[in-house]
Structure formats: structure tokens, C-alpha cells
Symmetry: C2
Subunit: 335 residues, 2 copies
């Protein structure tokens, strides 16, 4: 059960990735580290690490994709970019999953190009989790698809429920549509049609509970919330921005000077990104996206999530759920 | 300089409104309290208050609009609702501004119906403010218009800049378009066209700085951010939900047991709604919307904001700015 780690994804690459590698090796997770071979070999030497064949393999990739490149163009123009090579390792069955902290648009493009979608999936989604006082809420899509149609959102409901069941052990997760109010008349044409379809086609694998508002993502009212990638991305970034205000304010407040460690621990506990990155769900393989600013610990958490997802058979579970819910998707495809 | 206070707006009406009334009277702000006369008279007596003619007038309104009514229908079906009567007081020049914690859709409908729009304004917007470590960011629209076109967003830029100048004393506020990334290629057709129009028509009264992401609303990067009412509403609710996670978590954490008062003060300081409510900007008169769960202090802050806005001539400043920016709006109207 090997994981491919894109060594040149994060903003501070490859240092955070090397730190994550050490954590993974210590936890007994075999890694294919993908990037410039000679550079990585030198850096590993400084950390008293070396390619072992079994636990750690270095997979050479001569190029890198940077954050400011056009994602689809860069993926096509640089077949030997570390991201592309990592995806190729997965496509060829050399590893069970890929973790990258690179440009999320590029990861999406590379995965679509190199792995393809699971049969029946119209659009893969980026899934994130809001950890909170009463548990964890799964939210998707948070950025893969700026524009969506009802078919996409009902598929996100199915995909999100599969993830909540596999990763959080929920038997029949409560699924909701993210909206600007809880009454059925609220929302947009997209959310109203999605809610209508989900209500008309009850699923055995999840319970549809209607609309939730963004505040409910922190309350435990639902286990999964679906939305288009524009709204999900802005809601995620607003939440991250708001969550980060508190530690700053507490850090400068005389009453909390002695509590910096506790505050930092709470901040990490609430950080959606620190909990294992964001799976790209719906592509034919396990791919986990991390934040460009991810720490070694966050990257390691993503590696651990990748391993759990692969062990538990996320892609196969998605394949099966997509097949089971065909009547719902057929209804969504009808004009 | 009188303010009309809808006594039957908030979820716990009229108690929070009566508390706000006491604060306003103590601060020397004359109030028209609008609602059921006999009921209000009895409740005022319990607080040792009475109608004085000058400081406090009771304005009878026999009906109320509730949160779960269809806004536009309720406003038309109940001409004697406290909200409608308060708006009428403003339309007839009896007061300078209206404050209500009622259904925001109903407040919008009542204001459009009773006051109309300022000449040249296509769609009024609900404006809110994100207070943060480095200042305050004005955001609009946060809920009046679920669907918007570029004309609306460029008008929101002008309206928001007027507010930032009048209320925050900024000479040439920095205005941005809310997006999912800072690069010009990001966003939607709506945000890209809005950015293009604002860049092509520089304004003397504000500086257009391009895209910001929701995290920037807490960083002081811009003074005003414009977006459609769907995105703005969800971003606001996500931020409010995330901000409220911290006090809960700190309250249950042993290291912070002794700091409850400080935590509560910081929470109030960060609460967008506590800072004076949300002006409905672009209608022909000063109308401030408060949260249904607003406290007496939050309602009083809205009354104080209403008085400042009226004193400083918000509606006239908007009228003038709308006239000055006509070329920008004409360009936005072109197909």
C-alpha cells in the first residue's frame, strides 16, 4: 500500500513535503517521493534519509508546475512535471493514492487527464471537512466546478455520503443542500431543483434533510452539505478567514498572553486543511489535495487519509454508489 | 432628528426593541416607537417610561409581519404592519430613518414600495461590515438580490464607497470584487465583466484594486468588497458561523474558564451585526436592517448608525455619486 507524494507541490516545496515524508516513514507508510532525483537525494542526505527500495522510492520528475501557471495548459505542456508523474504512478498501479499540495486546478486537470472519471460521474468534486464542536461536516464541491447543474449537485450528495460513511463511519449520513435560508422557497434555481430531485428519490445510503445555511456547517445539523464549486470555495475561504481572526486577536490581548500554546492547538483543531487535505472525489483513483501553505503535519495527515481511503476502497465504493443511484441521475438529466 | 423603531421586528419582539429604546432615550435620540399602541403603553409603564411627545412618540400599528411570511405578499397584505407604518413615517418626513429587526426580505419590499429607489439605482443592496484586527471591511450585497448583473455590482461599488467615506471617513476607499482567487482569469462571467468595467472607468471617489478573496475581508486589504446577494449572504453566514465556533470552544476549555468575560467582549467586537446593523443602501431614505436575534445593544447601535447616516446625508451623497458615475453605468447597460 504505497502512496505517491508530489515533492514539488507546496508553496515552500520541497521542505514541507520532506517533513511529511519523515512522519510517514516513521508511521510505516511506504512512499514514492516524486520530483527532481538529484535534488531530492541531496536533501534526503541532509536528513539522514536514503532511498531504501521498499519504504522510500525516489521517482524522478524533471519539471514542476507553479501556482501561477494556467492549470490545464501547464499539465499538458509539462508531461514530466512532478504532479503528472505522481498521477502516472497511480494510473500504472505502482501506488494506491497521490497526495499533492500543488495548484488545485492543475491537480484536477492532471487527474482527469491521467486517471479519468469513474464511470457515470459527470464532474468530480473537491471535498473538504469542517471540524467543529459537535463533529465534522463534509462539504463539496469547494472549487473544482465554478458552474454546476442539478445533476452535479445530486452526484455530490452521493459522493459525499460515500465519503462520510467510509471515513466517519456514519451508516446513513444526513445530506443537505447549502442555501441562504432553510425554507424550501429560498435558494436559486439550481438549489431548488437539486432539493426537489433528492426529495423525490430517497436513497438507502443517505437521508436528505433539505436546506442548511452556512452557519449549520458548524453545528452538527447535517453530515454532508452539497453546493456548486463557486459558492463552496467562497464559503470555505470565508470560514477559514474568520476562524483565523480569533488566534490573532487572542495573541494580542493581555488576558490571553499565557495561553498561546492552547490557542495554537485549538486553531489547528479547527483548521479544515489540517485534517487530511481535500479528496478529489469522482476521479478513478484516490487523489488528495493539500493547501499550498500546508505544514508537514497537514501533509502527513493527508497521506494518512489517502491510505485509509485506499484501504477502505473509496473509489470502488463510489463506483458502486454511482451505479445504485442511476434513477436519480437519469431524472436530473431530463430537461 | 427622529428615528422610527419598528417595535415588532425581532424574534423576541418587542423586548429587545424596548431595551434599545431606553438606550436611545438615554443618549438623547428622539424615537417614534411603532407598534400596537395599548400593548406598548403597558410595557413602557413597566419600565417607568411614557410617551412624552418630544423624546418618545408611540405610533400605532395594528399588525405585525412574522419571519416565516412571504415578504412581498405580507408587505402588501398588511398595510398596517409595524414595518409598513415605520416606513410611512419616513416617507412622510416625520422621521429621518427607520430601524427594524424584521424579515429582511419584507424590509426590502416595504422600502421599495414605500420609499422607492434613488433615481438611477437599479437595485438597492444590503450592506454589512466585517470588523477585524486591521479595521473594517464593507461588503455588499449580502442578501437583497440573489441574482445580479454587472450593472448591479458596479453600482454596489459606488454605493459602498459612499458609505465607507461617510461612515469610516475614508477619502478614497479601496474597492474590490469578491472572487475565488486574485488572478484576473478567476471568478465568473459576472465578476470578470464587473472588474473590466471598474478598471475601464476609474473613479475619483474610490480606487478599484481588482479581486479579493473572502479571507481578505478580515485583512484590511480593501475597504469595500462587492458581490451578488447570494454569494454575499453565504459568505456572511459562513463567517458568522465560523466566528461563533471560537467562543464555544474556549468556553469549554479548562485553560480559558476564567476568561469568559474577555471572550464575550471579543465575540461582540467581531460580530458584524453588533456594529450597527446593515443599511439598505440605494432606497430613497435611511433604512437599517438588524438581525432577528439582535440584542438591545445591537439595536441601539443601529439607531446610532441611522442617526449618523441621516445627519451626514447618506441618501443625498448616494444620489450625487450615482449621478457622477453615469458613464460607468451606461457602459454596464450596453449589451
Amino acid at each position: 500500500m504505497r502512496i505517491a507524494l508530489d515533492a514539488f507541490g507546496s508553496d515552500a516545496r520541497p521542505e514541507p513535503e520532506l517533513g511529511a515524508l519523515e512522519l510517514a516513514l516513521a508511521a510505516g507508510i511506504p512512499i514514492d517521493l516524486v520530483g527532481d532525483h538529484s535534488r531530492l537525494r541531496d536533501l534526503l542526505q541532509l536528513r539522514n534519509l536514503s532511498e531504501s527500495g521498499r519504504d522510500l522510492r525516489l521517482i524522478h520528475a524533471s519539471e514542476q508546475i507553479s501556482m501561477d501557471e494556467s492549470p490545464a495548459r501547464a499539465v499538458k505542456a509539462k508531461p514530466d512535471a512532478s504532479l503528472n508523474v505522481a498521477i502516472r504512478q497511480l494510473a500504472e498501479g505502482e501506488v494506491e493514492a497521490v497526495v499533492s499540495a500543488g495548484n488545485s486546478g492543475a491537480i484536477l486537470a492532471a487527474a482527469l487527464f491521467g486517471l479519468g472519471r469513474i464511470d457515470g460521474v459527470d464532474r468530480p468534486a473537491i471535498l473538504t471537512r469542517f471540524p467543529h464542536f459537535d463533529g465534522t461536516t463534509v462539504v463539496l464541491d469547494v472549487g473544482a466546478n465554478v458552474e454546476c447543474r442539478p445533476l452535479n449537485l445530486v452526484q455530490f450528495a452521493v459522493l459525499g455520503a460515500v465519503f462520510a460513511t467510509l471515513e466517519h463511519g456514519l451508516v446513513r449520513p444526513r445530506v443537505a443542500v447549502l442555501s441562504n435560508g432553510s425554507e424550501p422557497g429560498k435558494g436559486t434555481a439550481l438549489t431548488r431543483m437539486t432539493a426537489k430531485l433528492l426529495a423525490a428519490h430517497p436513497s438507502e445510503s443517505f437521508e436528505f434533510i433539505g436546506y442548511v445555511e452556512p452557519g449549520d456547517l458548524f453545528s452538527g445539523v447535517c453530515d454532508v452539505a452539497v453546493t456548486d464549486g463557486w459558492t463552496g470555495n467562497l464559503v470555505l475561504k470565508a470560514a477559514e478567514g474568520a476562524l483565523a481572526v480569533w488566534p490573532r486577536l487572542l495573541g494580542s490581548h493581555p488576558d490571553f498572553r499565557g495561553s498561546r500554546t492552547s490557542v495554537a492547538m485549538l486553531a489547528e483543531q479547527l483548521d479544515p486543511d489540517a485534517h487530511g487535505g481535500a479528496p478529489l472525489i469522482g476521479v478513478d483513483g484516490t487523489v488528495i489535495i493539500c493547501h499550498g501553505a500546508a505544514s508537514s503535519q497537514a501533509l502527513y495527515n493527508a497521506i494518512a487519509l489517502a491510505r485509509r481511503s485506499a484501504t477502505r476502497g473509496l473509489a470502488d465504493a463510489v463506483r458502486q454508489a454511482i451505479a445504485t443511484h442511476r434513477p436519480l441521475f437519469d431524472a436530473a438529466r431530463r430537461p
